[in-house]
Subunit: 201 residues, 2 copies
């Protein structure tokens, strides 16, 4: 075997170590149900649905947002849950999601999971995930808006969902969800918030 073939083989082994590990995201369960309420959603299919949201709702993004970068972020955004699990936005009275403890655990998970990749891919995909988490660039802000609005739609369609589970108030919906959705997609939030009036007034 030539050196280049050995390097190619090693690279493929690393790429598939990551892709096979990523498969486990299909077994991470979320609090939100499917639209038909039949079962809770897993984080793999959630990530697909969000990428489709980005493709279909691109016209809701602010000028300059690059939808293909948004899609890439959304494909990756939950991988750390393989180690950490999903932390529902309304759980622990809203205190668990985004806590320093959760962030530290997710950073460690990112080290391990992206670390399975060849170095160039590790650095590129880790940087995309960090950008999503920081929620500062226009692409990341829009991606976060979609991540927040999709469970709202699932709750609307399934008859209340996690709003009932966690006794969510209108103020909590606005502060935990609305602010984030409106930041990246203001017209979208105005429309969706109108739909929620049957639950929250």
């Amino acid at each position: 075997m030539r050196v280049s073939e050995a390097a190619q083989t090693h690279r493929l082994e690393q790429q598939f170590a990551f892709l096979n590990e990523a498969d486990r995201l299909k077994s991470v369960l979320r609090a939100t149900t499917l639209v038909d309420g039949s079962r809770v959603e897993n984080s793999g299919e959630h990530s697909w649905h969000l990428a489709l949201y980005a493709l279909v709702l691109a016209d809701q993004a602010r000028p300059g947002v690059q939808i293909d970068r948004v899609i890439r972020m959304l494909l990756l955004h939950d991988l750390v849950e393989i180690d950490v699990g999903d932390v529902p936005i309304h759980s622990a009275n809203g205190a668990a999601h985004g806590s320093a403890e959760t962030q530290a655990a997710e950073s460690k998970a990112a080290d391990r999971i992206f670390g399975l990749l060849p170095n160039d891919l590790r650095d590129d995909l880790r940087a995309l995930w960090e950008e999503f988490e920081a929620a500062e660039t226009p692409d990341a802000v829009f991606a976060k808006s979609l991540d927040r609005v999709q469970p709202v739609m699932a709750n609307l369609m399934s008859g209340g969902g996690t709003w009932t589970t966690y006794n969510v108030t209108a103020e909590q919906l606005d502060s935990r969800v609305g602010v984030k959705v409106a930041r990246g997609a203001p017209a979208l939030w105005a429309w969706v918030r109108g739909k929620t009036q049957a639950y929250f007034g």
Copy 2:
């Protein structure tokens, strides 16, 4: 309400009619299992995994392939299964997948599902799906390669999977799967085929 607001509202209603309908892809079951063999995969999470394949295996594509277009195709490629169901590649001794009957049913499903969208999006996304199905452009050929190779990896990881279910021979693996993977990603197929020798020699 101004006309422009009414139009915006109508557009959002159409976009979410599609996105909520798309949710049903999470309930379409495939023959292939998860990597850990714990259950069969659904077509929603499969679509996510394939999009991640495209992101990670971009260096296996031929020069000129636009990975972001490949990702978009893969996000959409199975939506017609909401109406038609998944047709396993090795089922009915390989005769069902891609049959004229299946193709006609999928085309009708595409009319209905993409038809939920505003006209501009309907045309754009339908065209991407048609391009994937035709498997003629470099982007579609690479997308098809990934769609064929991912179940091979799941079978390898889970101890045989659908090869055992359908008594697949080496010749069938090569003709139904290998030719398609090698067309878009020859080095990838050479490597994966080597891994299958324990099953097929």
